[in-house]
Amino acid sequence: MIEARSLILHTATRFLLPLQLLFSLFLLLRGHNEPGGGFIAGLVAAGAICLYLFAFDIERTRELIRFSPHDLFGVGLFLACLSGVPALLLGYPYFTALWWRPEFPFFGEVALSTPLLFDIGVYLTVIGSVLAIVLALAEAEE
């Protein structure tokens, strides 16, 4: 499968990848209000990296993501677990949503919340898990 490399694919992938990742971030952030969210965003990002893997090779892909997939989903899981803790500290049940709307220069009011934190955890976990599976299999292939 991985033999099927072509110049077009290379170029297209190199061009598409940042776009796809950016799109995934966009899906992640808007998820609370429009279709999207951590899963979809994670799957899109993972799909993008898979495409990269098909276009190039495992070495390049590992360089690209830099972190080990284990680290990605480890951190993601940890983040997801922790996102419920602030509520506990304030005496609310686990995962009770806390919202914080600070004003930022240039951005204006930004809604930060523990559900968003959680969604980021989901995002990282999905990327990490899917990549772990695909990379392991691809390596076994070689």
Partner: protein, 526 residues
């Protein structure tokens, strides 16, 4: 927040421990430390949870701050709390055992996080008060068990796993469909809420749905004729994993049956519980006959798990008698719960013993074993106590568990089922004594290349392995000899189970959605 947070910790602690272990995946040492600390904390907080539940009644925590039935609620009644303590005991003992047995490879490939997540899934299943959430915990537990099952990558593991995964997946799909149907009919996912709604309406369709759940859970519990995945797989992974599986997995199925068929599906007990009763009777006898046919230490133990599940199903099934007196029903359920607790301890322990035997003699096959009673009397003693307890001989935990169940069976006048139970007891003794006669009493197998190890003193690692075995052996003795507090506990738990209203009231259903943090202005679209 106290004591509510106690309901969360049995889920939160292992999950966080797992997440941390994954982050530390490069360092086996850190994982070991997290493993010991995490399971110790699980056990400790589990015990505190049990004590608090005992003192204050049912404890609940409404996840995300949304009251039942809108959010997911974690509920700890006495049964749940007891099962959580058992999870803690299993986690703790198995992790200690693993310190000596899990090779570095296992650790690098996620042994500890998988184990933590198995605990998390199991504890979550015990504590959740929401049917879909229960499915999620089942899946966490199952996928963790899938991964543990194949860790090591041997042929037997793969073969066992194919069956284990397939059948459990089918069971999950049945459960998922049942949940879908339930939601379609009730419009709610909260167990207490569903129970309340079902109390109001009396429709035959409820029984139909109940059967879907029964089949799904009975597969997980390993009931006849649905247990095939268990004998095919349980004896294949490393012994610490088998021990953990034996102690916890099937019991989650049994727990779910206890929960659903005391809380939610009590409309048509003559139909549903009679099926459970007879499933229990046949399960015990087929299980024990299966064990009798085997000649391998771990296979005997594995298949025998099924037989023990039969007693639990039987206890629950005794509710089928339409005019069963309250105290008999209570005794039956209490006996069933005590049986679960006893069985978790003893079965796990026997698996751990088989691991030590394997370490010494390098085999699980009875005909290649021998001389342990002569050369390692202490190990023999540990096995002997657990084996007799399993066979229900006094004054160990198994005896009183059996006594309660059989007494309830007789008092409910279910004669035939009691006959099954008694015969199973004898055959259990037969299979345990078979192990004893071959592995422990017969002379040391001189043709076994490892026979010299038998005659050498135990090394330090083996003593680490002994520690949990000793603890569990003490537990089975204490549960028997000093059983009263535990029986009071199980009787109280049974009383709670038999009065669903207590559970429903404790969950505290609300009719309008609400959120504890109200002072934020409803801005919506920022």
């Amino acid at each position: 927040m106290f004591p509510e947070i106690l309901v969360l910790l049995p889920v939160f602690l292992p999950m966080t421990a797992a997440a941390l272990s994954v982050v530390m995946w490069r360092s086996p040492l850190a994982q070991r430390v997290i493993g010991v600390v995490g399971t110790t904390a699980l056990l400790a907080f589990g015990i505190i949870l049990l004590l608090q539940t005992w003192e204050n009644g049912i404890i609940t925590m409404e996840m995300s701050g949304f009251a039942a039935p809108f959010g997911i609620v974690l509920v700890s009644d006495l049964l749940s709390a007891m099962m959580v303590v058992m999870t803690g005991i299993m986690g703790f003992t198995v992790v200690i055992y693993s310190l000596a047995t899990a090779g570095e490879d296992y650790e690098r490939f996620g042994y500890y996080p998988l184990m933590h997540l198995l605990h998390a899934g199991v504890a979550g299943a015990f504590l959740t008060g929401d049917i879909f959430n229960l499915y999620v915990w089942f899946e966490v537990m199952l996928v963790a068990s899938f991964a543990l099952l194949i860790l090591g990558g041997k042929r037997a593991q793969m073969e066992g796993a194919v069956k284990y995964v397939t059948i459990n997946l089918v069971s999950s799909m049945i459960l998922l469909t049942a949940i879908g149907l339930t939601y379609g009919v009730v419009g709610s996912l909260n167990m207490a809420h569903i129970a309340e709604v079902f109390q109001e309406v009396d429709s035959p369709i409820i029984t139909v749905i109940a059967m879907m759940y029964m089949v799904a859970f009975a597969i997980k519990a390993g009931s006849f004729p649905l247990f095939f995945w268990l004998p095919a797989s349980y004896h294949t992974p490393p012994v610490a994993v088998s021990a953990l599986f034996a102690g916890l997995l099937t019991k989650v199925g049994a727990y779910a049956l206890f929960r659903f068929f005391t809380l939610i599906f009590t409309q048509d007990v003559e139909f549903t519980h009679n099926i459970l009763l007879w499933a229990g009777a046949i399960t015990m006898i087929t299980g024990v006959l299966g064990a009798a046919a085997q000649f391998e230490f771990r296979r005997i133990l594995s298949i025998h798990i099924i037989s023990q599940i039969g007693y639990m199903l039987m206890a629950l099934g005794l509710l089928a008698s339409p005019d069963i007196p309250d105290e008999v029903a209570q005794l039956a359920i209490a006996g069933g719960i005590f049986y679960i607790i006893h069985n978790i301890i003893v079965k796990t322990n026997l698996f751990l013993v088989s691991g030590v035997v394997y370490r010494v003699l390098g085999s699980y096959h009875l005909k290649k074993l021998g001389g342990i009673y002569r050369h390692k009397p202490f190990l023999a003693l540990l096995f002997f106590i657990s084996a007799l307890s399993l066979a229900g001989l006094p004054p160990l935990s198994g005896f009183f568990a059996k006594f309660a169940v059989i007494r309830a069976g007789l008092e409910a006048m279910e004669w035939y089922v009691v006959v099954f139970a008694l015969v199973t007891g004898l055959l259990t003794l037969y299979s345990m004594v078979k192990i004893w006669m071959y592995a422990f009493w017969s002379p040391a197998p001189e043709d076994n290349p490892q026979v010299h190890k038998l005659k050498e003193p135990d090394d330090a690692d083996t003593w680490v392995m002994y520690t949990p075995i000793i603890l569990l052996t003490i537990a089975t003795v204490v549960l028997g000899v000093y059983g009263e507090p535990f029986f009071e506990l199980t009787l109280a738990a049974a009383e709670q189970l038999l009065d669903p209203q207590v559970y429903i009231d404790a969950v505290g259903l609300e009719y309008v959605i609400d959120h504890p943090i109200e002072d934020i202005e409803p801005t919506g679209g920022q």
